[in-house]
């Protein structure tokens, strides 16, 4: 795995970790749209942005 890939992989793993932990701890009593609903939407969106940068140079090598 290239170093660049490794950095992104760590970043993604961290986001996925949050996606499992926060809804079941901090947000477990926040029965609002800005609770787990918003958190998961924001995290997924962040992953999409990461993918955009991660794949930016495909085909240019």
């Amino acid at each position: 795995m290239k170093i660049n890939e490794f950095k992104w992989a760590l970043c993604i793993l961290f986001i996925i970790f949050i996606a499992y932990i926060l809804p079941y701890t901090l947000l477990t009593n926040v029965a609002k749209w800005y609770g787990s609903f918003l958190l998961w939407v924001v995290l997924a969106f962040t992953i999409i942005i990461i993918n955009y940068f991660l794949t930016k140079d495909w085909g240019k090598e």
């Binding site: 499992y20 809804p23 079941y24 749209w33 939407v41 992953i47």
Partner: protein, 480 residues
């Protein structure tokens, strides 16, 4: 919903899809590369839509909406964690694509067989894919059955829906192989996303706008906005559901085979990004859909009927309802035809091709075409068993496919992996998953998929360490 209206809409859909399928024919389609991979010349846009249509099936607006109806926001987390898992394509996509081009692989199992230098590896993975994907296709077929039955109040019986879906999937995959599948998929994907988004916007407006919609949920159904909420999404349950789906993009050959098809790395990138955006929108749409059903019809006995009820509600104009219904049917069919095509290529290439001496490319293609209807009939028979909660069965097929993931990761990142490691991990943990699913037990509270991935990882590593690894291919794969 009137039966005449439903049949008219289905007829229009069939005519348009058939025209597109016929127009997609190009070239002679007389070899495996051409029929199953579109000569590795697919453009990014079609690939993205087709990947989306193949991945997202009747499960989304029937099963996922049903999961939301039953358990609340955990359904959103479940599906978005799956979407986050597609990020694996960013790591494995270019690797699949490059080795595919270099060594001419048609199927992911063929790739693993060559990487581990053992034909049995290819055959075992191909057979295990068939064992688990036929139930998965059956789930899609029953999705169509339930839907047509539900929206017409039994005027179109369950079996008629099944037959219709089976026949259409067969036709779409037969006309021009992956080309007709990809083009009809694209049409269907656009249709699915546009129509369902419109309905969800109509529903939110009808239920008091964004504020009113969430206001009702927050006041009347607060437990549907948290996990574990009403208990449906306990943490272990959530883990058991999400882990198999997280690895879906690698474990399911009908999608991982797509990684060989784009014409360039740029097209592969467009496929990935296009899919992620599509999936993001469609997931939110399906979850809001499930919530709307909960607000409008809180007392349904079977959550799978939530969608038919929404489509027939006063808020959705009948024409729009019927169009979306066809969209959901199209979603199911676009998944089944891809699975049919992939499974037949696996059988022809990795089972027949490996064990029949002098099986030429052309003979493999003929065998592949022969197997397509056989698999379709099997799926049809399985679907007639009418299993209750669609999502549960669908997830268990995913759990069964999950057991090949350690071997796939190892193929590109671990030079010590061996054929014995792959075969033992896939066979033993595959059988464990089947036993757990069959007996409906949860040893130590863990679902079948979790046991599957734990045992397969353990076996793959330990058996590999005590057997001799192939050197040359390992080196090529690790440095690609």
């Amino acid at each position: 919903m009137s039966t005449t209206l439903v049949w008219s809409a289905i007829s229009v859909y069939i005519v348009i899809a058939l025209v597109i399928a016929l127009l997609s024919r190009k070239g002679k389609q007389n070899n495996m590369d051409s029929y199953f991979l579109g000569d590795r010349k697919m453009n990014g846009f079609v690939s993205a839509l087709s990947y989306s249509a193949t991945t997202y099936s009747a499960f989304m607006l029937v099963g996922l909406a049903g999961l939301t109806y039953n358990g609340g926001v955990g359904a959103l987390g479940f599906e978005l964690i799956y979407l986050m898992g597609v990020t694996l394509v960013a790591f494995f996509g270019p690797r699949y694509w490059k080795v595919g081009k270099k060594f001419g692989y048609v199927t992911p199992s063929e790739m693993l067989g060559d990487r581990y230098d053992n034909k049995i590896v290819a055959a075992v993975i191909a057979i295990s894919s068939c064992v688990f994907l036929i139930p998965y296709s059956a789930v899609q077929l029953s999705g169509v059955g339930y839907l047509l039955q539900g929206v017409t109040n039994n005027a179109i019986p369950f079996t008629t829906g099944l037959i219709l879906a089976t026949v259409l999937a067969l036709i779409f995959s037969y006309i021009a192989g992956i080309r007709s599948v990809a083009w009809t998929d694209s049409l269907q994907a656009l249709f699915m996303i546009v129509t369902s988004t419109i309905v969800v916007l109509v529903l939110i407006k009808g239920l008091g706008g964004f504020g009113g919609f969430f206001g009702t949920l927050e006041t009347d159904y607060p437990e549907y906005l948290t996990v574990p909420g009403n208990g449906f999404f306990s943490f272990l349950n959530f883990l058991g559901l999400t882990i198999p789906w997280f690895f879906f993009s690698l474990s399911n050959p009908q999608v991982s085979q797509r990684l060989y098809m784009p014409s360039s790395l740029k097209s592969l990138r467009n496929m990935l990004m296009g899919f992620l955006v599509f999936g993001f929108v469609y997931t939110i749409v399906a979850v809001v859909w499930g919530y709307s059903a909960l607000i409008m019809f809180p007392d349904l006995e079977n959550a799978d009927l939530a969608t038919p009820f929404v489509l027939q509600s006063d808020l959705v104009p009948p024409i729009l309802g019927v169009i979306v219904m066809v969209g959901i049917m199209a979603a199911a069919i676009s998944t089944i035809d891809s699975i049919l095509l992939t499974l037949s290529s696996l059988f022809a290439r990795d089972v027949y091709g490996n064990f029949k001496k002098e099986a030429s490319d052309y003979t493999q293609l003929r065998v592949g075409k022969f197997v397509i209807p056989v698999i379709a009939v099997l799926a049809f028979l399985f679907a007639q068993m009418e299993v209750n909660l669609i999502a549960v069965l669908s997830v268990s097929s995913s759990a069964g496919l999950l057991v090949s993931v350690p071997s796939i990761i190892g193929a590109f990142f671990w030079k010590r992996g061996t054929a014995a490691g792959v075969i033992s991990s896939v066979v033993v943990s595959g059988i464990v998953v089947i036993i757990i699913e069959f007996t409906q037990t949860k040893p130590l509270g863990l679902a079948s998929g979790l046991w599957g991935i734990l045992i397969s990882t353990l076996l793959y590593i330990s058996v590999s360490l005590i057997t001799k690894a192939p050197k040359e291919k390992a080196k090529e794969f690790l440095s690609i």
